[in-house]
Symmetry: C2
């Protein structure tokens, strides 16, 4: 298809497509003349992925370029491609001085993950996020050890193994798998948070309502 | 205790305490002289609540004033006080035109809540949040009906009934109950999201890793 048809098929304006081509986010089409090129279904899929990372993952273009490079790197197994995407969309942890309080919180987070028996990369940003949450809970005088947070780990693991893992299309093109992971992580994360607050209200109404 | 002792006990600087007194967030102390007043444990608890709403709930002072007024209104039952706090800390839904797409998404969200049998106020802001998520999922071509989102509702309800409800101190002063709800909603919501992403990584490592 021509660039105008690619634009119609993807809903992405032509100038934006040209920008993605220049930035290397979108591979060049097959050159058909001095000024024309032909695009295929792979380009439509790639544009869907870029939009998902941009609009739902709210990633800057430089981070999207890294995810796209991982998708294109055939030497990486799918677990690592998903890891690059997952780490890119992780919320940044506020900077912290590596003082004693932080070191203790980070050690607590690492112990928690070890005790769960989960396979997590030593450099996973979520380790810092968990340490940050442990720190915040501690400062607020709330329990923040493995026992206190275990119900959250159990609920999350059960949701992932019993439901979410079954919704990811592992056997399609890599773009589709990564797109599904990004959308699922962000939007379903929001759904889970909303459902939890609704459940709070409903249980409170039953227990304390008039 | 004097204002200097209240400041030491709560960690809140004296000028900030005076500001809260002027704004009516903190009730006046017992007047002991033309310029001095005496404060009690109730003031310490109130300052803890204000800090929780400010630093963890990230609420503006005007919203904190509403929560504090609900805590002080003896005619409100605890369910309503918790509701005021819960609604105040709910993330704002982006403005939307009430077009056909939105009306359908909102109706889908309402049907979902009815089918769950949950007791939710017709004006609960989380209804709009859920409609927004339904809209986003639909636009992304992902399933967004009650069946697709049921696992999230089930996971949330189970976590709330089997664990979270047991951690809220219902029989103490209202400040303590509201503070616990606000901290729990925000910080434990973050913990659940982190655990879910860690579970994704661990399950992915098992299934797809080298």
């Amino acid at each position: 298809m021509r660039i105008s048809e690619l634009s119609a098929a993807s809903g992405v304006p032509i100038p934006t497509i040209k920008y993605y081509l220049r930035e290397g986010l979108l591979p060049a089409g097959e050159q058909t003349s001095a000024t024309g090129a032909r695009y295929g279904e792979g380009h439509v899929r790639r544009l869907r992925l870029i939009r998902a990372l941009l609009e739902v993952g709210r990633l800057p273009i430089a981070s999207i370029a890294k995810v796209v490079a991982a998708v294109d790197d055939e030497s990486l197994d799918l677990h690592h491609v998903l890891g690059v995407a997952q780490y890119a969309i992780a919320p940044a942890v506020e900077p912290h001085t590596p003082d004693e309080e932080w070191t203790r919180a980070r050690a607590e987070a690492d112990t928690m993950i070890t005790d769960l028996g989960w396979q997590i990369d030593p450099d996973a940003p979520a380790r810092d996020e968990l340490a940050q949450a442990v720190l915040t809970l501690g400062r607020l005088g709330m329990p923040a050890d493995g026992e206190a947070l275990r119900p959250y780990a159990d609920a999350a693991l059960r949701l992932v193994t019993e439901h979410e893992i079954g919704t990811i299309p592992f056997d399609g093109p890599r773009e589709a798998t990564v797109e599904s992971l990004v959308l699922g992580t962000v939007v379903h994360g929001r759904v889970l948070d909303i459902m939890r607050r609704l459940a709070h209200e409903s249980v409170s109404a039953r227990l304390l309502g008039p």
